[in-house]
Structures are given as structure tokens and as C-alpha cells.
């Protein structure tokens, strides 16, 4: 059975190739269903392959073929509970989003192409997840970036979409740079990029300093892909892509790659406490920073985008706390409810005929009941209301931070405040969208989405509701499941007993307070005027983009301009032209030799070969 593992990657890839080559002939609904099938089938395979782990089966490595054996990089796949979990999330949520897209992308002129990209993304993501060495992981990492670029700028005729894709690509490159340096350092230290060898020998080979350097570089990669401070800026802009793309890439799967990578290299991070502290801090800061930004957004998708950054901050904080299980747990639950929220937002946008501004919505719950109900589940789940998924995972992270004590108590505080803000802005989103008066423009007739879009919503809503029960303080299901992976690593665990209940109550209280504040502010009649001061700044993302533009982009542009206009024309061209002049002068002196007669060239060739043979004979001592 494990022999079919390669199908996980091969099937979506096949789908991508088929749709790229023959998409136009396959036609509109068929290509979507084909793509969906080629994601759902891997999901089923992965599910079948995951079952043995529940019975305590060993991890396995499936060797496919030699790629670059010298650096320990083969095309071989690692199948352990962590990658299994990730695969299930990617293919499961991905499959639902594919089905959703069948309806959502209806009527798009490049419909098959969209699904080709989606399938390609799934294949890339699975490559990243299933890689058993850093090199293959990096390949997946880059392919994911590429497909994300393709998908963000899918509607490339919109200049903003094209710019967003470019931005995502460039910002990710900065992160990749860190990742690549980390890989080089690892190769320099271990002489191989194979996970198994690296992790097994890490304690013997690495000093703490080296481990810190490597992990920090890896973390730079993670900040890029997982949209942490300071490299988060691409994610809000990436909302220019189609909504399923936002759901798939920028909520459920790709952005979690950084978290996954840190969890995967947990052994290395464990050796570098400083790095861990930095990771946790960055995560916590990102969480609260993005949460405050989310509060001020008017665009429904941008709220969710900042919310995603904030939640990713939670996850990064968790892995920084060495609460890897908690991080992965939150990754999983977040995948469900954030995908749900995005898809719901997409459904709303679909209903509102592509209107994204929440100030122009309101009172939609009667028009799109299924969307409303499912999104309400997502809202409560992300807010962390008992007993929905978000409650369990977020609470575990916060409890872990609390349990670690010391400096991390500050992070705990930040996390709790972030939970409050999260509840606030999510409630704001729901109220503005579904309650209150109609504020939409003339000529908009909201309607419920087709079944292809609502069914994924329902499934995801169910998952968001119950997924948390897998890993409760009472019954640590995920913990056991992931034990083969993190068994050797010293993880921080929430304290037992009363403390955990107290902490849970605190965060629940925060959530309730947040919801109530939001209700008090938005739920009663007239909406407050949100202009000027904080609101403008938040809408502008605190001017971070402008700041980057001034501090980084502008000097870069200046330097490049100088290089292009002055250095290149004067120095580089000068050298080239000088060479050309020299060559031309030499050439004109030699042109006499080029008689145009083939036979004289032939004579030269034969004479030359005669000379060569003679020289060889002399060297060989024939004379």
C-alpha cells in the first residue's frame, strides 16, 4: 500500500499537465471535476495510508529514484504522522476548495487553467510536505511559491492582481534566501541534506551557536512563507486572487508551510533556546499586531487576511514555545475554520456580485442562510468559544505559554489580549455582514450559492465544530498520534489540574468580552463613524508598506538606476565595446585568411590534423 505513496504527488501533477495541455478540450465543468477528483483520490489514499499510524505503525521512507545522491537528496518521500496529518489537511481542505471552485469559478474564461494551477499547487505542497530531505523540501517550497504567484495573479489583467502576485513572489524570495542559507549551513555541517541523518546526528555535530544560526535562517524562511513580522506584507495584498485561492493557499495550506518546517526541524530548534525565544516573540507580536490591523479593515477578505496572519502568529508562538503539538493542532483547526471563513466570505462576495466592502453589506443572513450559519460556526470557532475547535487549540497554546513561565508570561498576556481582539473583530465582521440594515447598492440581489459551494462550507463547518475534540486536555489524541515524530523532543505541556481550567476560563471570558464589546459597538442600530486616527492608519496597514517603500525599495531603486544608467553604460559597456573594437581590429587583420574557398579551409584542417598527429607522435617518442 505504501508503494502507492508517489501517487499523492503524481495524480495532481497529472491533472495539472492534462489541464494545461488539453484543458480547452475538456471544457468547463469537466475540468473542474477532474481536478477535484485528482485531489480527492490522493486524500483517500492518504487516509488509507494513515490508518496504520493509529495502530502505532512505524514511519516509512519511500525511495523513488536517485536525484542528487551526493548531497543526500533523493526523490524519496517520508511518511510519518506529521506528514500524514499535513497531507490529509492539504488534500482534504484542498479537495473541498476544489469542489467549491467548480461553482465559484463558473464562467471564468480561463477556467481549466485555474484548476491546472490549483492541482499544480497541491502537487507542490505535497512535495514540500512529503519530502524526506531539505533539498526536495526546498523544491516543494519554491514550487509552492511559484504556484501561489500564478494563482494570486490569476486575474492578471487587473494591475493590482499582477502587482500582488509580484509582491508575494518577491517577499517570499527574501524568506527563501534565508532558507537557502540555512540549507547551505546544514550541508556544510552535516555533509548531507537527508532529514534522518541530520536529525540523528544533530546533537553530536552542532554547537549551540551553529544551531542558533541555522535555525534563525530557517526562521527567516518561515517568516516569509508564513507571513510573520516583518515579511507579512504580501499576504493582505494576495487577496487580489480568487477567493478559493485565498482559502487554499493563504489560509489553510501554504502559509502553514513555515510552521510545518519549524515543526519538522524541531530537533534543531530544540538545541537553540535563543532562536526559540525569538520565534515565540515574533509569533506573539505578529499575532497582536495583525489582530489590531484586522480590527480596522473594511474589506471582508482583508479582515480575514490579517486574521490569518494573527492566527499564524499563534502557531509560530506555539512552536517557539516548543509546544509543537499545540502548534500543529492549531494549524489543523485553523485550516478548517479559516478555510470555512474564506469560503464563506467568497460565498458572500459571490452573493453580493463581487462586492467586498463590509459597509455595503448588512442584513444578509436572510438571503444566504447556509452561508450565514456555517460562517457563524467559523466565527465562534476562531473566536475560541467552547467547545468549538479554536477554543481547544488556542487554549492549549496559551496554556503552554503560561506553563513555560518567566519571560513567556508576557507572551501569554499578549496572546490573551489577542484572543479578545480576535473575538472583537470577528464579531464585527459577522455583524456588519449579516445583521443590521441592508446597506448594499442598488441592483444587487443577494442569492444563495450553488450546492457545489455550500456543501464544502457545511463540511468545513462540521469539521470546525468538532475537530478540536481530538486533542483536549482530557484526551490527548493528537499528542499520541504525533508521538513518533516529537517523541524525542522535550515539549512544553500545559500544567495540569486547576490551572488549566482557570486559564481556559480566562480566555473564554476574554472571548465573551470581545464579542460583547463588538455587539455593543456595532449591534445596536447606527454604525459608528470609523474614520481618521487609528482607523485610517489600520486601513493603511499602519503604513508599513509605505515605510518599506521608503526604506528598502527606494534606495534599491536609486542604486539600480545608477548602476543601469551610469555604471552600465560607462564601465560595462566600455569594456565590452573596447573588446569589440579590439576584436574587430584583429579580425580585419585576419580576414585575408578567409578566402571563401572551402578547399583552402580543408587544406588548413588537414594540415592542422597532420600537425597534431606529428606532435602526438613526438610526445610518444616515435622519433
Amino acid at each position: 500500500m505504501i508503494d502507492y505513496l508517489w501517487l499523492l504527488i503524481a495524480l495532481p501533477l497529472l491533472g495539472a499537465l492534462t489541464l494545461i495541455l488539453f484543458g480547452k478540450h475538456i471544457g468547463e465543468p469537466a475540468s473542474g471535476w477532474l481536478a477535484s477528483a485528482l485531489v480527492v483520490i490522493p486524500f483517500l489514499i492518504a487516509a488509507a495510508l494513515t490508518v496504520p499510524f493509529l495502530n502505532g505503525a512505524e514511519s516509512e521512507t519511500v525511495f523513488l529514484f536517485s536525484w542528487i545522491p551526493v548531497i543526500g537528496a533523493n526523490a524519496s518521500l517520508l511518511w510519518d504522522p506529521l506528514s500524514a496529518l499535513m497531507t490529509l489537511v492539504v488534500t482534504g481542505v484542498g479537495g473541498l476548495i476544489h469542489v467549491y471552485s467548480v461553482g465559484y469559478m463558473h464562467g471564468d474564461p480561463r477556467y481549466p487553467r485555474f484548476f491546472a494551477y490549483m492541482n499544480f499547487f497541491i502537487a507542490s505542497m505535497l512535495t514540500l510536505v512529503l519530502a524526506d530531505n531539505f533539498a526536495l523540501m526546498f523544491v516543494g517550497w519554491e514550487l509552492v511559491g511559484l504556484s501561489s504567484y500564478l494563482l494570486i495573479s490569476f486575474w492578471f489583467v487587473k494591475p493590482s492582481a499582477a502587482a500582488a502576485g509580484k509582491k508575494a513572489f518577491i517577499v517570499n524570495r527574501i524568506g527563501d534566501w534565508g532558507f537557502l542559507i540555512a540549507l547551505m549551513m546544514i550541508f556544510a555541517a552535516f555533509g548531507t541534506l537527508d532529514f534522518a541523518i541530520v536529525f540523528a546526528e544533530a546533537h553530536g555535530v552542532l554547537s549551540v551557536g551553529l544551531a542558533t544560526a541555522i535555525t534563525l535562517m530557517l526562521f527567516i524562511g518561515a517568516t516569509g512563507k508564513s507571513a510573520q513580522l516583518p515579511l507579512y506584507v504580501w499576504l493582505p495584498d494576495a487577496m487580489e486572487g480568487p477567493t478559493p485561492v485565498s482559502a487554499l493557499i493563504h489560509a489553510a495550506t501554504m502559509v502553514t508551510a513555515g510552521v510545518y518546517m519549524i515543526a519538522r526541524t524541531a530537533v534543531l530548534f530544540e538545541m537553540a533556546p535563543i532562536s526559540l525565544a525569538i520565534v515565540a516573540t515574533v509569533g506573539a507580536l505578529t499575532a497582536i499586531f495583525a489582530a489590531t490591523l484586522a480590527v480596522g479593515q473594511r474589506d471582508i477578505k482583508r479582515v480575514l487576511a490579517y486574521s490569518t496572519i494573527s492566527q499564524l502568529g499563534y502557531m509560530v508562538m506555539a512552536v517557539g514555545l516548543t509546544a509543537f503539538t499545540a502548534g500543529i493542532f492549531h494549524l489543523m483547526t485553523h485550516a478548517f475554520f479559516k478555510a470555512l471563513l474564506f469560503l464563506g466570505a467568497g460565498s458572500v462576495i459571490h452573493a453580493m456580485s463581487d462586492e467586498q466592502d463590509m459597509w455595503k453589506m448588512g442584513g444578509l443572513r436572510k438571503y444566504v442562510p447556509i452561508t450565514f450559519v456555517t460562517m457563524a460556526v467559523g466565527w465562534l470557532a476562531i473566536s475560541g468559544l467552547f467547545p468549538l475547535a479554536g477554543f481547544w487549540s488556542k487554549d492549549e497554546i496559551l496554556a503552554s505559554a503560561f506553563a513555560k513561565g518567566g519571560f513567556f508570561l508576557i507572551l501569554w498576556g499578549i496572546g490573551v489580549v489577542t484572543a479578545l481582539i480576535t473575538a472583537f473583530y470577528m464579531t464585527r465582521l459577522i455583524i456588519l455582514t449579516f445583521f443590521g440594515d441592508k446597506r448594499w447598492d442598488e441592483g444587487v440581489h443577494p442569492h444563495e450559492s450553488p450546492w457545489t459551494m455550500t456543501i464544502p462550507l457545511i463540511v468545513l463547518a462540521l469539521l470546525s465544530a468538532i475537530a478540536g475534540l481530538w486533542n483536549t486536555p482530557v484526551r490527548l489524541g493528537l499528542e499520541h498520534f504525533l508521538e513518533p515524530v516529537f517523541g524525542d523532543i522535550h515539549q512544553v505541556h500545559p500544567a495540569g489540574g486547576l490551572t488549566v481550567w482557570a486559564l481556559a476560563l480566562i480566555s473564554l471570558a476574554m472571548v465573551v468580552i470581545g464579542i460583547l464589546i463588538a455587539y455593543g459597538r456595532y449591534g445596536r442600530g447606527d454604525l459608528p463613524n470609523e474614520e481618521g486616527g487609528y482607523w485610517t492608519a489600520a486601513l493603511d496597514g499602519y503604513g508599513v508598506d509605505t515605510f518599506y517603500g521608503k526604506v528598502i525599495v527606494l534606495p534599491g531603486k536609486t542604486i539600480s538606476t545608477w548602476l543601469a544608467m551610469v555604471f552600465d553604460t560607462k564601465v560595462v559597456d566600455g569594456v565590452v565595446n573596447g573588446l569589440a573594437y579590439g576584436v574587430r581590429a584583429f579580425g580585419s587583420s585576419m580576414r585575408v585568411l578567409q578566402t571563401g574557398w572551402v578547399r583552402s579551409y580543408g587544406a588548413a584542417i588537414v594540415a592542422g590534423s597532420l600537425g597534431v598527429i606529428l606532435w602526438l607522435l613526438l610526445q610518444g617518442g616515435a622519433f
Binding site: 574557398w597 602526438l616 607522435l617 610518444g620
Partner: protein, 179 residues
């Protein structure tokens, strides 16, 4: 003993063919001379136990390549006898010296053990049956063999392209209009 005689006869035939090829004014006779040389070569291959190569030699060279030559000769060069006046300065002298030198140094090189190798590697009475050749061709030299497939495909496509996209079409219509 009989081998020596055969060698002598075939060698003379081969050389005679080469001389005819070199000196005939009419390209058809040149082709015939080369054909004779190729037959002699095939017979040498038989003497050297390379039966398969001998058959292929006739099949490919005599059967295909030289036929193609004849075709093209009849198409283009058949009526034009070559002028014997040398136009390129020193060409004849250079040719004479260089060709003679080449023969001498190749023969000299052939006498060097480090050029030819010294010991027998395989079985001395190896015979070039199809089986042995095929074992080597499809075993050790598979990649090379496959690349010849690409080479031939490219050659075929190139030939068709060259033949198809010439100025002929224009010319022929002109002629038709003239006629």
C-alpha cells in the same frame, strides 16, 4: 596463403576504385569508383569476421548512400565536366604534401603500441554475428544507439525541410508562365 591473395586482390580493387573516384571527370564514374571501393571494404569486413557490418555496409553505403549520390548527380551535376585548371594558389602542392604526410604519419602512428593497444581483450576468434553485435549495441551502447535514432530523425526532418522550402516553387511557376 589464400588470405594473402585475397587481401592483395581486394586491396588493389579498393585502391583502384579510390583512384577512379579521385580522378574521374564525370561524377558518375567517381560514384562508381567509390562503389567498387565500398564493395572491397565489405569483403574485407567478411575476412575480418564482421559479417553483420559487411552486410550493413552494402545495405547502407552501396544500397542507400551511393544511390542517393547517383540521384543527386543525375539531378544536378551530370552534364558538367570539371575544369582541371587549379584556381587556388598552391592548392595542389599543399594537397600533395599534406596527403602524403597524412598517410605516413598514420602508418607511423599505427606502429605505436600506445596508439593501437597491445593485448587482446576479448576472445580472439570473436565473430561479428548479429547476436554479438546486438549484445554490445543494446547492452553497453544503448544510449548511443538511441541517440542515433534522434540523429536520423533530425536528419530526415532537416532533409525534408531543405527540400520543401526551396525557391523551386517560384521558379517552376515562372517557367510554366514562360512556357
Amino acid at each position: 596463403m589464400i588470405e594473402v591473395f585475397l587481401f592483395a586482390i581486394f586491396a588493389l580493387v579498393a585502391l583502384a576504385g579510390a583512384v577512379v573516384m579521385l580522378t574521374a571527370r564525370n561524377p558518375v564514374y567517381s560514384a562508381m569508383g567509390l562503389l567498387v571501393t565500398m564493395f572491397a571494404m565489405a569483403l574485407f569486413y567478411v575476412m575480418l569476421d564482421a559479417h553483420f557490418v559487411a552486410a550493413v555496409q552494402i545495405l547502407v553505403y552501396a544500397g542507400a548512400v551511393m544511390t542517393l549520390f547517383l540521384f543527386v548527380i543525375m539531378m544536378i551535376g551530370v552534364d558538367k565536366k570539371e575544369e582541371r585548371v587549379e584556381t587556388i594558389p598552391f592548392q595542389r602542392g599543399i594537397t600533395f604534401v599534406v596527403a602524403l604526410g597524412l598517410a605516413v604519419v598514420i602508418i607511423l602512428a599505427g606502429r605505436q603500441a600506445w596508439v593501437t593497444g597491445s593485448d587482446a581483450f576479448g576472445s580472439p576468434d570473436m565473430v561479428g554475428t548479429i547476436e554479438t553485435v546486438a549484445d554490445s549495441l543494446f547492452g553497453t551502447w544503448t544510449i548511443a544507439f538511441l541517440s542515433t535514432v534522434f540523429l536520423l530523425t533530425i536528419a530526415a526532418v532537416g532533409t525534408v525541410a531543405l527540400a520543401m522550402f526551396g525557391p523551386t516553387a517560384v521558379q517552376s511557376t515562372d517557367e510554366e508562365e514562360g512556357a
